[in-house]
């Protein structure tokens, strides 16, 4: 528990305390957040085999563009921007007959 010397009412003191806590959390987590974001988003021209971009549904993509578009598709579904895709089960390339 932190000690407060400010001569304010207990109610205001508690609001101030919570705000201070949140600010502290943000300051504490900010470097971690920036580092993770940097690692996750920036990957300039690495070998194709190793590049994987994961969208918000946990699906992998080869390029950031595809990944962003996939995320937009989810966000905008129902908002008039839906891009219909997939004629399910009818694409022979999706029925695997060779392994590896």
């Amino acid at each position: 528990m932190r000690h407060w010397s400010s001569p304010v009412t207990p109610k205001f003191q508690s609001v101030k305390y919570i705000a201070f806590q949140i600010l502290q959390d943000i300051i504490h987590l900010l470097p971690q957040y920036i580092e993770k974001r940097r690692k996750f988003m920036i990957n300039p021209d690495p070998p194709k085999d190793e590049v994987i971009y994961i969208d918000l549904q946990g699906r992998p993509h080869d390029t950031p563009q595809e990944c962003i578009e996939a995320n937009l598709g989810v966000e905008e579904a129902g908002g008039g921007q839906y891009q219909a895709g997939g004629n399910c089960g009818q694409d022979p390339s999706n029925i695997p007959d060779n392994k590896g």
Binding site: F40, I52, I54, G58, G80, Q83, A84, N87, G89, K99
Partner: protein, 287 residues
Amino acid sequence: MVAHLRKMEILEKIKEIFRKYFDAQKRGDIKELVALYRELILSRNSLAVDQGYKDYLDMQIKKINRIPEPHWQKYLANKDAFATKFSPHLDSSSNSPHFLSKLPELKIEYPENVFDLVTKKYPEINEVRNKISIENSDKGAYFRYSDEADHYSIYIPQTNFNQKVSMLIHELAHVISWEKQHHRVESIYSAEFEAHQIEFALTKDISNEFSQAVFGEYLMGQVRSDFQIAIFTNTTLDPIVTYTENFAKYIGELKKENQTDFLFDKKITHDPLVDLSSAVSIVNLLT
């Protein structure tokens, strides 16, 4: 921010799993692939739980596809009956779920006669016919509409002729639906439901055999969906046994060497439950 960090951690983990997964695929290490597939399921479930859903399936039903509850319940109640209704009726060999390519090639001009067929039942397609272009695709069939150009691009892969006809009918059905809804759709599910409704009405006009074969092509989507419904809701299930059982339910016995095919099927590994809206629509429309 904490929640965001957690989400990024999960995504980072999925990325790592995929790196190992691709490597195991190259080596054909089935045991490792099954272990990694299980990890993938658990991570995707965590992603959904973090967003307030019961599991990944729940997130797909409610957030992504927005499947109405009565349709979802009807699907759950009827999917097993649907499986037996169509499988014996179709001449399917055990590990080849292709039906359209087994039919004699349709004697029609592509794409002109496909447009003619659609126009007979849905004359409104004529109003947008000159706004539609058909292009080659390397990843299945889909369409895109450009607001700026007021133009539809339909992408069809180079495949068996009958399949191309069927795919074009399905995508044109999306265009009809898109026009009817004034370029707004309620959800992925409603778009898929309406497209299948139009598509099935059109394929019946070609022939009963063609229509049945189209249903047959969609059985693979049913297998994928039913398998993943089981796997995402009960993560202790053995994926190989569950996949084999589901394949047998809809299509037929799977040879031993094909029982691990799902580990190489991008519609399962890369795009989980991508067929869900279609599978639920079809069972709702045909039962």
